[in-house]
Symmetry: C2
């Protein structure tokens, strides 16, 4: 049996059974995007790692090294934001072919520095090794969060509402444009969403400090997959209103051009790096407004949490209900 | 200019100028094997990352997945030991081809678990991504150390003696055997030194707690390279006595068979993962004996620290003096 036969998530389950991460100092171990660890004091230590693999995550002709450096750090910071935390330091593990241009690498580091300075993160080291062929940029980020502000995937309760920051499907639309080499000026925003995503750290801080949210995740695989992770960990069901999903006209246009729907891109596109979170119905509106007031990022209520037995439902624009299925990115499966 | 033109160390210098790791919370940043960070209390946080790259660090036909799992964690723990610290948690970033056998991966994780349990380390998460071709096992280890026990490369002073744990050149001898496919029964120890190195964590703890050592490093690249790192960071010279280097008969035999000298393997072989450290002359003997008494690992005095102006000298067995040069492993240079 090969890893492509069972896919990423089944694989993680199997491996997590071999190395148990149960330990008094480990609050969240294998299976989440970020590990949460006792740090000795009131602050908890967050640790996450994410790799950018050449030909899988990036093509040298499609992204500048500076953008790649920003992206490699940003996707990790998004995992820190998912817990409500702030990033502190980054370690960068480079696996590089001998032919790599020094100038390319220096631009990569300029991108890393830009993104690090933007969020007050310090690059404190890493490792360098030779690659036989393709480059891998593996970044590990450590961060901190107050114990009483930590947000996990578990914690959503029936009666809560589901909220999402920003807009959905833009990164996926950017990818479609890139694949079609359609470089219309109007696509700048979509391409930027794909190539240099913005981790929602200020938004996460407001949400965490409010102590009103009950669960949170960042949207890396795609809304459908990621929201179902919250449902699984919280042991709840969900009803998602397709009509309420925040989708821009630009995404609708690209979807139309590609023979897809904006709903497909919003649910399954992935890499938007928005935050999806839940909060009790009576505070959700206020919380959404607070995030907008303090960060300028709109927050939309897109669904409601149900008891687990109610299952996972997607209400289509016409009112018809269908089962919400995970359509997001999964490594190893042939979904590229 | 390509990375192969300037090599690993010049490259690190260039990149360290781009991303400054100067920050009040960062005690040791880029350039060392392990970052040392403020953790909020009396304990300092240690963070290190090291990758095992297929075809560069390992060949699937030469190492079992279980050995590879042990090795991937052990080499990181050796970096933690180099500061006198103890390992706490590990994150594992896997970049894997689709054809990877699930059984191979499960054996890798069994190796990770074995090594983790041996040292009281918990695997708390990581990441999984698809590789176009070759696997990369990238491990990040976090550890802790008391502020007053931290050992760095800087700190050696003229008049100190140079000490080393265990024996030298065995991993290099094991590599020679592997390359010659000479599987004589006598080689088991040498192969184990290469494939499943032992991080010197208990020895590091004794050395750190003694508060007598002045500088320390682990021998990953090779004694000559690594000792010269101590000299550079401490701004001192050194005189190394070739005759005193702890080399076993097995290493001498392999060196002889390969037309090399045991001295070559001891100085330049690398991957022994022993600890090299310095201590004032009047306490070095006692410290060496204490480490042996408490861990069973012999410690040998192999040289003396000199003022920087005295340079770096290797005293050959006949008494002749020569310049000590870095002969250790360097990525990107054509030294494979």
């Amino acid at each position: 049996m090969r890893v492509s036969d069972i896919g990423e998530f089944a694989l993680i389950d199997r491996l997590a059974k071999i190395v148990s991460s149960e330990h008094p100092s480990v609050l969240v171990g294998i299976g989440d995007d970020t590990a949460v660890l006792e740090g000795g004091g009131e602050m908890l230590l967050l640790a996450t790692v994410d790799a950018q693999v050449e030909t899988v995550h990036f093509l040298r002709e499609a992204i500048t090294p500076q953008q790649l450096g920003r992206r490699a750090l940003a996707v990790n910071l998004s995992d820190i934001a998912a817990m409500g935390g702030r990033g502190s330091v980054a370690l960068v593990s480079l696996v590089l072919p001998r032919e790599t241009e020094v100038a390319w690498l220096e631009h990569l580091y300029q991108g890393l520095r830009e993104e690090a300075e933007r969020w007050g993160v310090v690059v404190v080291g890493g490792n360098m090794a030779r690659a036989p062929e393709h480059a891998v940029i593996d970044v590990c980020v450590l961060g901190w969060i107050s114990r009483d502000e930590l947000l996990l995937r578990a914690g959503a309760r029936p009666g809560d509402l589901v909220l999402v920051t920003g807009t959905l499907g833009e990164a996926a639309a950017g990818l479609r444009l890139l694949q079609r080499a359609d470089q219309a000026p109007a696509s700048t925003v979509l391409l930027a969403r794909l190539l240099t995503p913005t981790p929602r750290l200020p938004e996460a801080a407001v949400i965490a400090k409010s102590k009103r949210a009950t669960a949170m995740i960042d949207l890396s695989d795609g809304l459908s997959s990621d929201l179902l992770h919250i449902c699984q960990e919280s042991r709840v069901g969900v009803r998602l209103w397709a009509e309420r999903l925040p989708v821009t006209a630009a995404v609708q246009e690209v979807a139309h051009q590609c023979g897809e729907t904006a709903l497909d891109l919003a649910l399954g596109g992935g890499e938007d790096f928005e935050l999806c979170f839940t909060a009790p119905a009576d505070t959700a509106e206020t919380l959404a407004r607070t995030v907008y007031d303090e960060t300028g990022t709109p927050v939309t209520i897109i669904g409601e949490v149900l008891p687990q037995a109610a299952g996972h439902t997607l209400v289509l624009p016409g009112g018809e209900e269908t089962v919400l299925k995970a359509k997001g990115w999964e490594h190893f499966k042939r979904n590229l």
